[in-house]
Symmetry: C2
Subunit: 191 residues, 2 copies
């Protein structure tokens, strides 16, 4: 096994970056870096805003239900069951985006939103952060408030179902697995 | 809460797709679909090969160490501690890619590779699958075998460190959290 030797693995910025494709919330850049051996190479970096996911726990404990939303996803081309989630708007705080997505996609507000994890979705080519909040003290206050291209239905799903289904059928989103891991680690530490 | 009503949320293929950017292992398409209300709209889909991640458990039980690799990641522009992972080559089986990545990045071979999870990294705009294998019966057989642009060091990391560090400092990759969730669920069901 190796020693921790940063110099052996660290790439340095060359200062050169070009945007090679850009549209809506996506931008693809070529970022040039210099290898530990001194060779320069361009790498693909996908720039997109931060994401938030909200894990809405309807009551605490083993028999809790969770609010989830069911929608068609255009990457997979299939229906997907997920926690409420979305993109952080320009200049918006992640916490604000969490409040907003929860309200828009489920019609619920929360007394408490707790940051339970933040991480890069895939540092190999992404540069953004995926924020996960646990929502408690939930109250239904209004109807869903969806964009023109959003067609979503909201559902109450039991914890045992989420445990069983993650990774099969419509529970096919790694960002939700990541969020569920943060939830389980947070509640394990509470008990 | 809503009934399960597919017709209310399902988009249909219009048949029209354009590739708007393509390079190396990445392709960005516009996929046109027709909404439940009958309106057509193009959506961004990022096509890239499947990924494999290998969770290499050096011995079973609570005191196990795991093989991890430390490398610079060009999306985050930072050093990252991860399980061995990589892209499935064209025509390659995911299991073969897992064997290959483990050998190339750590120099180890495994007596047993168990598929413990598969999922879409983000069905909102990705269409590929992230496969996770648990590797057991590990033996060091050769040196690392790295590409010209790979600068990686291999390390033994204790389970307690992974539990504590996921999501902080260099443990900043959601694909590894997803893989660690599959590992914990699999081993919980074994005991």
């Amino acid at each position: 096994m190796s020693e921790y030797d940063d110099e052996q693995i660290l790439w340095k910025e060359s200062g050169q970056t070009e945007t090679v494709w850009k549209e809506f919330i996506f931008e693809i850049d070529h970022v040039h870096r210099v290898s530990p051996e001194g060779k320069e190479h361009p790498f693909v970096v996908c720039r997109t805003p931060d994401w938030v996911t909200v894990v809405p726990e309807l009551e605490e404990g083993d028999n809790s239900d969770f609010l989830m939303v069911r929608q068609f996803r255009h990457g997979s081309g299939a229906l997907s069951m997920e926690f409420p989630a979305g993109v952080v708007d320009p200049g918006e705080e992640p916490l604000h985006a969490a409040v907003r997505e929860l309200r828009e996609e489920t019609g619920y507000t929360a007394e408490e939103l707790i940051l339970i994890g933040k991480i890069n979705p895939n540092p190999a080519f992404m540069c953004n952060t995926s924020w996960t909040y646990l929502a408690r003290g939930l109250k239904k206050t209004e109807s869903l408030d969806l964009d023109e291209q959003e067609f979503i239905t909201a559902h109450k799903i039991a914890k045992s179902v989420i445990d069983r289904e993650m990774g099969v059928r419509e529970y096919n989103n790694a960002i939700m697995v990541q969020s569920w891991y943060w939830y389980k680690r947070f509640t394990d530490n509470e008990s």
